[in-house]
Symmetry: C2
Subunit: 144 residues, 2 copies
């Protein structure tokens, strides 16, 4: 989509790791849980307003991230959600959860505790994404 601009709040709270087929891939800058966000490059607000084909592409990206989180982080549950009450730009949270994490069994939305990643750890995650997702992931260092 031309003229796509990432919402300012997402840009502030998250790291833009790269691009998948239709979405930007963001990482919430909070190492307390592995919290990825897919931002389809669209002006639609609801998943269900995307075309059937874009929904299928987005679902494939959700599956990719779900697999990546389960493979690389010590989690026992996934939380997958499109909420958008505060940031209306369509974005899908994929969060790895575990009984040992900072707010289990509560949801992460609305919590304010945050611990930012080190630059080294972010590089590590991005490298692993490149290795495991292959050409489905386009690394975009310095996207924003």
């Amino acid at each position: 989509m031309n003229n796509f601009e990432l919402d300012a709040r997402l840009a502030r709270d998250c790291l833009v790791l790269g691009k998948l087929n239709i979405s930007l891939l963001l990482l919430m800058n909070n190492k307390l849980v592995p919290w990825f966000i897919l931002v389809p490059q669209t002006s639609e607000i609801e998943i269900t307003d995307l075309s059937q084909s874009d929904q299928a592409d987005l679902l494939e990206e959700i599956n990719l991230l779900a697999g990546f989180i389960k493979e690389n982080f010590a989690v026992s549950k996934l939380n997958i959600a499109a909420i958008g009450n505060i940031v209306s730009q369509l974005h899908v949270h994929i969060v790895g959860r575990d009984p040992a994490d900072y707010c289990w069994p509560d949801v992460v939305w609305g919590t304010s505790e945050r611990k930012p990643y080190t630059a080294e750890r972010i590089n590590e995650i991005t490298t692993t994404l490149s290795e495991q997702l292959g050409d489905k992931f386009i690394c975009l260092p310095g996207f924003e």
Copy 2:
């Protein structure tokens, strides 16, 4: 799926309205927001562990419910989420939200305020589902 049994907590908090293709359709017994829940009849815990075909069916049901909520309730946003930190049985929340509702812009999960529906209103919703979803919805009064 044979031997499928609805989780006891879902059965306690929700009304079972009927069946769609792969899911039971539940309504959270809380008229403060239109809060529907799809429970695919499976033993898988994560959406992303369903077969591609079951995921596609579930996505179609999510679209159906999203359309139904936008058509019949005064809402301006949808929250669509699979969480399952407390009830692990796979279930997808589809909640109609609005700046005028009881907990906007917070998420509904973790809130305790509830106002149960009247029997009359439940009948009305079920009848409208039957009318608008046609043979995609099988009404199951007294399912539980």
